[in-house]
Amino acid sequence: MKKDKSRRSLLKNISLASFAALAATGCNMKELEEFFQRNFRTLSDKEKDDIINNLEQKYKEKYDKEFQVSAQAAMDQVEFAYALDLSRCVGCRKCVYACVGENNQSRSPQIHWIQVLQMEKEKGIDFAHSDVHYNPEKVPEKGHFYLPVACQQCQNPQCTTVCPVKATWQEPDGIVVVDYNWCIGCRYCMAACPYGARHFNWGEPEIPAEELNTDMHYLGNRPRMKGVVEKCTFCIQRVRKGKYPSCVEVCPVGARKFGNLLDPESEIRYILENKRVLVLKEELNTQPRFYYFFGV
């Protein structure tokens, strides 16, 4: 009996303490609401609208700018795929920084969704001996080729299956997305991804307000918080409006190709049918939608 009583009082005290803490932090209604917000996939359209209005308001207060946050759903009959011409890429890293700007990646601590690996032609694709920190006067360097790696948008993704809270999933158009509000930061997905394509916000992300891209998607480039995982979304805020991803448009050698796998007239289909194509770590059966090819 005595034991029971002490447990009850313990529980009571804990609950009291937590409420006191809640009161002490000055949590307002919106923050509470955000805290109790459910998984994005279970929200009704109205709830999504409310959340997005709140977000736009919040960002406006924080950054003193107008933001458009979209929750646009996937288009019918669209499955995105990407192709990269290994015989063209010169390793200039323009895509890396275009991506950082477009997708509001943290400048400090630094996060890059795209990693350009420099490899020796003699060794072929050899991740163990590749170099991401190369910095010569001019690229391409003799005897080397360049292999940019970002999320491979796998058809059989491992990262989504290991998520204990289903905060990451594959959209009908093939894009693997993260609900940053639902992510608990356990980083299982990072361990599961064989491509190192997921990145963790170890610190509060810092982005200069004037460099923020105000055209946002809820599942894409809206500012992340400390303690959540982020990744390439094929520029979901652009491609669902029909635009090419940012890295495609910036590439100075036209090595990057993007399109709809289900459209037989698309560039992607032409490449798959006519070029020598490879995917990374094929043996893992992740079935990437990111194809590397040789244009010559």
Binding site: A74, Q110, G254
Partner: protein, 223 residues
Amino acid sequence: MIRNHFVLKDDFQLIKTMNMKLINIQTRKFRLLFLGFIITLLYSCSTNEANSGNNESGIQNSGENSLKNSTSGTEIAVEAPPLTDGIFPCNDCHSEIEPNPERRELVDMHDDITAMFNHDSENRWCLDCHDINNRDSLRLASGKLLDFKESYKLCGQCHGEKLRDWKVGVHGKRTGEWNGKKEYLLCVHCHNPHAPKFEGITPEPPPVMQENISYMNRKNDEQ
């Protein structure tokens, strides 16, 4: 589901008012009441979750924008890049000069082009591409005159494979919309026709070495 949402909101209201009273509460009675609220709160949360689980159709995004004319994306060729200042129209000078079809190295005029010329220079020279009688035109091997805006046809005479890939958007760069209006770049936007091989470019800075990344946020440290 919506109803539950409102229930949840009511709970929030209650919590808020209770928070304000919290300091005054000392009696056992109120403590018990609090426990009751937590339980109702948790319960309503869990029912919300349970209800939402049934809403499987909500998970599938019902896309409104169907891709209607996926294949008929219209492509727009952009303007040819501007020619070097002051040399076009070529006929301003060339109409007064007697054409000399003899292959030779130019020394007085266009020596800048001669200096950089690197496009099968052993076998080719100006009049293989420029028309001898009308310098404002290019000339195909067939003798057909060609506007500078259609220079890709001239390139394609030798580089047929590249032309084929370029037409389907695989060689070279396209910008615009993946399912709609696209903009081509012409061969000469990227390749100098007199020296088409790409020059090396300066790379953007490499990523910070892992050991140098400061994960500790300054603001948080201060707190």
